[in-house]
Amino acid sequence: MRPRLLIRLYPSRWRRRYEDEFSALLEHEAWSARLVLDVAAGALAARLDPYPASPPEEPAMTSRRLDTAAAFAATLLVLPALVVLASSAVRLMQPVQYQPARAADEIFNWFVSLNAGPAVLVVGPIFALVVGTLVVWRRLTADADLRRDIGAFRAVSGRLLRRPALVAGVFAVLGSAAVLAFVVDHAIAG
């Protein structure tokens, strides 16, 4: 934790190049005021120095922005289908004279009147699936930090799930909180 905080003092271009090896080195060092001062001075120097140079990062930045734009476009393509399906589900859960079933029914009927079912429910999601898969694949192959973060997340999740007391305890807390919130809400609403 402490090395992570110290390393965050460095500029991002420096961290991209040296973070891994530098944090491995910091793990060997004893915690002291001298160490903190040394690293802080190093971080200040790194912010003033042009090394490592940042120009090689620009193509990567452009690629990342393209991926971001494509991912948002894919989300927009699948969003109408999600809204329609959610409306369809909500209008079936209540009589349509009550909210939110009433609004959901209006949305659903408006969608039916458009005659755009195939485009919204089939073509859009297929495009979104292809584009989303491509973006995720490109990000995973281009970004070593992301792969490492996913690996760390899987390792942490695996460790947590191997503790049945913790899993059952969290489930009990969240489940009981949800039930009590529901009961209180109905008691207040009468």
Binding site: W14, R17, Y18, D20, E21, F22, S23, A24, L25, L26, H28, E29, R34, L35, D38, V39, A40, A41, G42, A43, A45, A46, D49, P50, Y51, P52, A53
Partner: protein, 105 residues
């Protein structure tokens, strides 16, 4: 002890210490710190070490090797070897002249 005798002067420039350490073969950061501590009795902090490493790498005097479990070794380049030899020869001339004048040798 008088203050002027207790002060041993400025430690050598970190870049020179790193080049000298790498002259003995490729090393990663921690191995460099230990080696420099042994040969020069100077313990470089991690921030100082990596500041100097970045500058030496940018000048083409050292180069990184593939990393080994998050520890990346560095080695001297041909240019780094030449520059180190020149600097050490220069220091040697100065040291010999100084020692002669002090009549230490």
């Amino acid at each position: 002890m008088p203050r002027h005798l207790s002060e041993r002067g400025q430690p050598p420039e970190p870049g020179l210490l790193i080049l000298t350490s790498l002259a003995g073969g490729p090393k990663h950061g921690y191995a460099m710190i230990e080696d420099i501590d042994r040969i020069a009795r100077v313990r470089l902090g991690p921030g100082t070490l990596y500041g100097a490493l970045a500058r030496l790498e940018a000048r083409g005097l050292i180069e990184p090797l593939p990393d080994e479990e998050r520890r990346r070794p560095y080695q001297l380049t041909g240019l780094g070897r030449e520059v180190l030899a020149e600097q050490l020869a220069s220091f040697q001339r100065i040291a010999e002249a100084g020692m002669r004048r002090l009549a230490v040798v």
